[in-house]
């Protein structure tokens, strides 16, 4: 049985940028206490034993454990039984891409792909997109192997939702609305290519709470690039993304870019990530409710 009383699974993805401060660990611990089921970390320097203790409130014998994976650049933890995970990762390159299949009684299997694609520091957008194209092919192969497309991809993709690595048919082929995720498949040039729904398009820029003129309900992106010398810089990027195949997109119940955890703020007074104390990326938190899915 799942360790909480609702038929939902909750996930957190966070690029920690090597951080290991007490504040960071306290935030992660608190997210585990409120029942987050799956944690995926990129650039995680916190040793697995320490992380297991953090996730289990100081104990090493709690439900949260590291999920074994042949690729170890991303760290994967869960409070679901280890036997329900099947590692479909390919040992390609330097372990920036993992594939875990979760078996859920009465629902069938769910494929969880997680990625930390190459940084813009060394490669231009086109070169980064080439790598993403390879991963997109691997996703399709693994889905074919698994016999279904109940898949999601989450991670620091180091590309924005509008970049070619995300949108092109031979790349991740991710579109901005649920309606397109279904209808675009009927276009002759797209019919051979599975689509993803990318809800992250809605997470750019200012978003004010209804009825207020000033208060922002969320940050302008997930990552802030402060280079004032670059005339083409958009400053806020939505590099951390969640993509869902149409077969499970209606399971998405909640998707947030977190700016605080309990009393701890993850952003500065001007709303940017606290890169000096915590991380230069903000975490993605989301919940999936599988009740609408049919078995198989």
């Amino acid at each position: 049985m799942l360790p909480h009383d609702k038929p939902k699974l909750s996930f957190l993805f966070w690029n920690l940028r090597g951080g290991d401060s007490d504040t960071l660990q306290r935030c992660i611990g608190r997210l585990a206490q409120i029942g987050t089921n799956v944690f995926i970390f990129a650039e995680c320097q916190i040793p697995r034993e320490t992380m297991v203790r953090v996730l289990n409130g100081g104990s090493t014998s709690g439900l949260h454990r590291a999920v074994p994976c042949i690729n170890n650049r991303l760290h994967f933890y869960s409070n679901l039984p280890l036997i329900s995970w099947f590692d479909r990762s390919l040992s390609d390159g330097d372990g920036r891409f993992i594939a875990q299949e979760l078996t859920v009684e009465g629902i069938g299997n769910i494929l969880i792909f997680a990625a930390h694609f190459r940084s813009a520091t060394n490669l231009n957008e086109n070169a980064r997109a080439i790598f993403v194209r390879g991963a997109a092919r691997d996703i399709v192969k693994i889905e074919r192997d698994a016999g279904h497309e109940r898949s999601l991809l989450v991670g620091d993709l180091n590309l924005n939702p509008f970049d070619s690595g995300l949108t092109d048919t031979d790349a991740l082929h991710a579109v901005m609305t649920k309606e397109l995720a279904v209808s675009a498949r009927t276009h002759s040039i797209r019919k051979e290519f599975s689509l993803f729904y990318n809800p992250m398009w809605a997470y750019f820029g200012d978003h004010r709470l209804a009825g207020t003129a000033e208060k922002l309900s969320r940050p302008g992106g997930t990552y802030f690039y402060p280079n004032t010398g670059d005339p083409a810089n958009t400053f806020w990027k939505v590099y951390d993304q969640l993509l869902l195949r149409p077969s499970i997109m209606n399971c998405l119940r909640n998707l947030e870019i977190l700016t605080s955890v309990g009393a701890d703020s993850l952003v500065t007074p001007s709303g940017r990530p606290r890169s000096d104390k915590i991380s230069d990326h903000l975490p993605l938190f989301f919940e999936l409710d599988f009740r609408g899915l049919s078995n198989g």
């Binding site: 329900s84 390159g93 330097d94 009684e105």
Partner: protein, 179 residues
């Protein structure tokens, strides 16, 4: 005696030179045949503006189609040599020369994880090194061992079922009943 012009060309031992793609397809078929289909060699092709990339995977059809990557090869379109080879389990040398990021991007690898084959002979030499490497062997044996284990479990379950009507224990996560 007439002067004979010296042949300055390198030795072209055979004119039947094969591309990395052809060689990988051949080796994939050999593995499938060698394991009686328990493990299937699978070669995937990806092309972009200037490059072709081929990835050799092994798939265990009897174990939920589990797939493991053996290597990837990348070369310029219509110019199979030189060819870049990535095989994480094998190449960890730091002797590889620096290379254009465009090459690296297609494979998603760090320089320490690849080798550069200038000729077919060199490609075959590296390929032999990868395919016969302990790391590769270990991966293939793991896949076969799991298949064999599952066969044993199935037989055990059949036996138990015949005796008591029980199947093997479920390994699934259970969701609570619908509200």
């Amino acid at each position: 005696m007439a002067n004979q012009e010296p042949d300055l060309w390198a030795n072209l031992a055979t004119l039947k030179v094969r591309s990395p793609k052809a060689i990988l397809l051949q080796q994939a078929a050999i593995l499938t045949n060698k394991t009686g289909g328990l493990l299937t060699g699978d070669v995937d092709a990806q092309t972009d503006d200037s490059f072709e990339t081929y990835r050799l995977d092994v798939v265990a059809r009897e174990n939920r189609n589990l797939r493991r990557r053996i290597l990837a090869a990348r070369y310029k379109k219509a110019s199979p040599y030189p060819c870049l080879i990535s095989a994480v389990v094998v190449f960890t040398s730091d002797k590889s020369p620096d290379l254009n990021p465009q090459w690296r991007a297609g494979l998603g690898i760090e320089p320490k994880d690849w080798q550069f084959a200038a000729t077919e002979e060199k490609f075959i030499e590296y390929l032999r090194l990868v395919l016969a490497h302990q790391g590769t062997l270990g991966a293939l044996q793991s896949m076969l061992a799991v298949i064999n284990e599952e066969e044993l479990l199935e037989k055990k379950a059949e036996h138990a079922s015949a005796n008591a009507g029980d199947g093997i224990a479920s390994s699934k996560v259970e969701l609570p009943p619908k509200e």
